[in-house]
Symmetry: C2
Subunit: 379 residues, 2 copies
């Protein structure tokens, strides 16, 4: 299926790592790519120019949150999510399913759809594949995700099969709506389920590939299983995915996890870690995590990360950041977030360059080793 | 007294309004000037580049807060407040007295100084004129304020006289420390007290003028008295202040109050209103206050203020701001603050231009009239 406003171009490989470019109705983004999360039409604490300044080329919006507040119909009347939040590059929205299962009070899953109560006010809502598509299309997303049902960890084979087969049936219903109302201009991704059961993952991939969707995500991972299990599943399933379409590993993860997933041929990522941890005073650096609110940094005149050229590291000291967290100043949340989002984007730039220059394996080893060094701050 | 690193140049007048320029060790600022408040080494929610982008040329830091956290000695070891918060333009610090009287639990005022308990942890501290100078000099402020004792409103003549005479005696002690340790490089301002008693205000001004300080502030106003009383006091006291030195009205105020004070020859202002109100969802505009978190703005695609060219008004809609406040997103606090600080700075630029072009009276009337218009939003 040719989608005028969407395409994946594989620019090169190094080892199993892929270097690519995705074209959408709002421009291109380079892969491997990390998408900062803009849950409620903002990457928390950052304005759209700051997000752009980090080098992020695509962000993720949350369907569940935007459906509840301010409502997809309101955003559509105001000209769509891009205009609403003043972000003119690609946007991917999730299906809303993950939040219904994790955040809302779930009432029941039926073949038709799910019923849930809002985490905000307990109001009752119904979400099904058709509505998920309508919401995401109304928001004006460039990439929309099919509604799926994921298996918890651990889930036995029966439960995992049930979830994956429902996910396939729902993906067909999503595709029908998308072809009618969202196509062209919007690209629908299917989500591979199957828990940690390799055969089920392959079954899910095969069933979704039959639908010939523009891209494929791997869902239901990073839900509590050991990371080795996650990567074992990836080892099994990524080779089964089409080479000419982007592969998106949902909800992963730490910098070292991104490296391990790129090493297995994944192209796209999202995760709350850089922003959520930053707001708790923990930032990511080239040598691993640094808890900036800790006392040893009270008189540290150096930047968060001497190897970082972000606006925070070139302007402010660890001592200043530590002071902002000690005094609960809102600016601390912003500066820590800006740094960590910048760090993730720089990591992905370095990842892409290493693949381009066909030195992936060396880069992978060196970077993982450096991430384990930590900071010699006497703790 | 000539201070190499400090001076006030009167560039012109229009009516009673003065257009001037103040030179400090960290460069000049144009007057009339409004100083955003950077209580804890940050203008709340804004980074230093954002503050600079609003056009602010000088900010105010709070001695009381910085003394408690992170401590003036720590900031001195790290190279001073300018470096700590990455603000390379002038900084004025208050004496700490106002917060001791308003925020801390005051234990007693004696001739020697004041004893108080921290609002943070109840720890006992002592502040006197000498320590206030030492703290402000350690912070590296360009303009430091003498420690004063202000009279509450209403205060009878006896209480007001007692406060003003103590303020004069403390100003002499401040001057001794400043001449020894802070001069040159730092400019000490005295604070005129005397409640709402005109004769006492004149007595206070005369006593302080004898000390030949680089600048004079009018304190103890905007503490609950009707604004007409405030302006009546200004009418009486500003003509008694030296024409060749800057005049700073402390803690005032709303945009219309700034106009009324400029109209009485005041050069410098500070106030928490633009930042504090912004964090509550109320912003300042050319037509007066606008409560952006209110429902009527939910679908308003226009900017906060169509007459504003700030980064918020040129990028985001009222609907987006309203959404951010509805969902308690931190970005809302930042965008509202950035707009309101920008608005105050633009107002002061317009004020200065009107004085330069000798059309102050017309500008004053037009601007006050427009501030009363409000927004036709059906409420």
């Amino acid at each position: 299926m040719t989608i005028p406003d969407f395409g994946y171009q594989r620019l090169g490989t190094s080892g199993r790592a892929r270097r690519g470019r995705v074209t959408t109705a709002h421009g291109t983004f380079e892969t491997p790519a990390f998408m900062p999360i803009g849950t409620q039409a903002t990457v928390k604490t950052l304005d759209s120019k700051e997000v752009e300044g980090t080098g992020a080329e695509i962000i993720l919006g949350n369907t569940y949150h935007l459906y509840l507040r301010p409502g997809h119909e309101l955003i559509e009347r105001l000209g769509g999510l891009h205009r609403f939040m003043s972000w003119n590059r690609p946007i991917l929205t999730d299906s809303g399913g993950y939040q219904v299962f994790s955040l809302a009070r779930l009432n029941k899953i039926e073949e038709e759809g799910v019923t849930f109560q809002s985490h905000l006010d307990g109001s009752r809502h119904h979400l099904d594949p058709e509505l998920s598509m309508q919401i995401q299309i109304a928001l004006g997303s460039d990439i929309i995700m099919a509604l799926d049902t994921m298996s918890p960890y651990p889930a036995n084979e029966e439960r995992a099969r049930e979830d994956l087969e429902r996910t396939t049936r729902w993906a067909r219903r999503c595709r029908d709506v998308w072809l009618k109302h969202g196509h062209p201009g919007t690209a629908l991704f299917g989500i591979v389920q199957g828990g940690v059961h390799d055969a089920l993952r392959l079954q899910s991939a095969e069933e979704l590939i039959e639908l010939d969707l523009p891209g494929y995500a791997i869902g239901g991972l990073s839900v509590g299983e050991p990371m080795e299990e996650c990567f074992r599943v990836l080892d099994g399933v990524t080779p089964a995915l089409p080479e000419d379409k982007p592969r998106y590993l949902m909800g992963v993860g730490r910098p070292e996890d991104l490296l391990d997933a790129v090493d297995r041929g994944v192209d796209m990522f999202d995760c709350v870690l850089p922003t959520r941890n930053a707001r708790k005073g923990s930032v990511f650096t080239s040598r691993g995590k640094l808890v900036i609110r800790n006392r040893p940094y009270a008189e540290d005149t150096g930047p968060i990360d001497p190897d970082c050229d972000c606006p925070v590291c070139t302007t402010y000291s660890r001592a200043y950041l530590r002071h902002l967290f000690s005094t609960r100043e809102i600016l601390g949340l912003k500066l820590a977030s800006l740094h960590s989002v910048s760090y993730y984007q720089r990591l992905m730039r370095d990842v892409r360059k290493a693949i381009e220059e066909d030195r992936w394996d060396a880069f992978y080893k060196e970077t993982k080793q450096r991430l384990g060094l930590g900071w010699d701050d006497g703790r």
